[in-house]
């Protein structure tokens, strides 16, 4: 019997934590991993400007979607694609009319070493690299765009034996950053700040080589009447946030 007590205690702490946070003008949101860096910058600005606070969880869109449909306490989702927000709308789990494209992603072929990536297509064709890290195309829109790019360059068959897959774009970046993969297709936002690539070397994949990576945000039913969430969505559409988003290499509508 005695080992039940810690459980009750934990449940109590969780319960009070939940009640307290809801009253404090706090938005609890789920954010696709590729948008982590700009989101942190935007949250800082938003919190300073409005006094609301934002609690963000970062992960792959597929995992976040699964968590949301199974009762995760998120009030909004900033996805890496349009499909999952649309699905949530169809499920009735999202607030009608709240969905919009907050960013259009760009893909970059990137190496942690300076000078490794000069002419991207030539490097890919040469095969002079140990591994090419991509996000799992089945799960991540950036992975899908990576495969479309290889397809457009007619290199799919040649490069498949060298592929390693991260479960999301953050892990894909990690494989390259630690040097375990020489190069990888990552989100431009991961290696760009203030309008330029800050580390290593990269080739920004031209938009015509893959379908546009439109990333949609949607308010979930849980966040329907939360002023902090509404304020955050207004803020995301505003000039200041859009400027931050562009400085990380995304396009905006």
């Amino acid at each position: 019997m005695s080992n039940i007590r810690p459980l009750i205690l934990t449940a109590g702490i969780l319960a009070t934590g939940g009640v307290g946070s809801a009253a404090a003008g706090e938005a609890q949101i789920a954010v696709a991993a590729n948008f982590a860096a700009p989101m942190k910058a935007i949250i800082d600005l938003f919190e300073a400007d409005t006094g609301h606070t934002v609690k963000a969880s970062y992960g792959s869109t597929g995992k976040l979607y699964a968590q949301i449909t199974n009762g995760a306490p998120f009030e909004a989702l900033l996805a890496a694609d349009q499909r999952r927000p649309e699905l949530l709308e169809e499920d009735g789990a999202a607030v009608d009319g709240s969905r919009f494209t907050y960013a259009i992603g760009a893909l970059v072929l990137w190496s942690a070493q300076a000078d490794t990536v000069q002419d991207g297509p030539a490097l890919l064709a040469s095969g002079t690299f140990n591994k090419l890290s991509i996000a799992n195309p089945k799960l991540a829109p950036y992975g899908e765009a990576s495969m479309q790019t290889l397809e457009a360059l007619d290199l799919t068959a040649a490069i498949t034996p060298k592929l390693v897959m991260g479960e999301n774009i953050a892990q894909t970046y990690q494989f390259v950053d630690t040097g375990n993969a020489d190069i990888g297709f990552v989100a431009l936002s991961q290696v760009m700040a203030g309008g330029e690539i800050t580390k290593g070397s990269g080739w920004i994949v031209p938009g015509e080589l893959h379908e546009p990576i439109r990333q949609d945000a949607v308010i979930l039913t849980r966040g329907k009447d939360d002023p902090a969430v509404t304020a955050l969505f207004d803020y995301l559409r505003g000039d200041q946030a859009q400027g931050v988003i562009r400085s990380f290499g995304y396009a905006t509508d």
Partner: protein
């Protein structure tokens, strides 16, 4: 519709191969460590025991992160493997073996150590008076007496490696037939919203794990030895 797709079967075969290779290596690596820990009076006994038990406590993400960095081209292990001409270990089957051996080490060492300690000094001393060499004593007295401990350790190490996920996710790179084990395959299904496939493979693992544990406990009703 067949119960499992070819990709599922490939993932299961890879998982069993990883668990088998890991268990064999753990018998070779873990037994001397367990023997030393059971017999020594060295002041290093405490620290070594603590290091062996670390994987029980550390999150797999910590182990996976360290492995990725140390086995990478800028890490000491990566430097060593490259110098030896083996190449880099992350994203390879043998990289997973290294991770799994570390991850399952306490599951091998602790039961075997307990079994060795339970033998006590007397059988070994008796053998010594009969002029059995230390090696002889180990192989003809200690090993047979500790056999139940070895069985437990082998089953636990094998099963624990089958259940591995976090470390593999972090150093595997999800390559079919090479590093995409069953647990990662299930994770992929869940993430891709293919819940029916996730259910099928999960059920297989659930039944497997239950049967293994049942064999372990039913074979040893007292549940205390080893």
């Amino acid at each position: 519709m067949p119960l499992l797709s070819p990709t599922d079967l490939e993932a299961i075969a890879l998982t069993l191969r990883l668990a088998a290779v890991t268990t064999v290596i753990l018998f070779l690596v873990g037994t001397p460590i367990a023997w030393w820990l059971a017999r020594t009076r060295s002041r290093w006994k405490g620290p070594v025991r603590a290091v062996v038990a670390l994987p029980l406590v550390l999150p797999p993400s910590v182990l996976g992160f360290y492995l990725l960095v140390t086995m990478g081209p800028n890490g000491p292990v990566g430097w060593l493997t490259q110098t030896l001409g083996i190449g880099l270990l992350p994203f390879t089957f043998w990289g997973l073996v290294v991770g799994s051996v570390l991850y399952s080490l306490p599951f091998m060492v602790q039961p075997v150590q307990n079994a060795f300690e339970a033998i006590g000094e007397r059988p070994l001393e008796a053998a010594a008076t009969l002029r059995a060499s230390p090696l002889d004593r180990f192989f003809t007295v200690a090993l047979p007496l500790a056999l139940p401990g070895f069985v437990t350790a082998g089953i636990l190490s094998f099963a624990h490696t089958v259940g591995e996920f976090g470390v593999v996710l972090m150093i595997g790179g999800n390559i079919p037939g090479e590093t995409r084990v069953a647990s990662v395959q299930i994770y992929d299904y869940v993430e891709a919203l293919e819940y029916a496939d996730a259910h099928r493979l999960s059920a297989v693992l659930l039944v497997f794990s239950f049967v293994v544990l049942l064999a372990l406990y039913a074979g040893r009703p007292d549940g205390k030895r080893g």
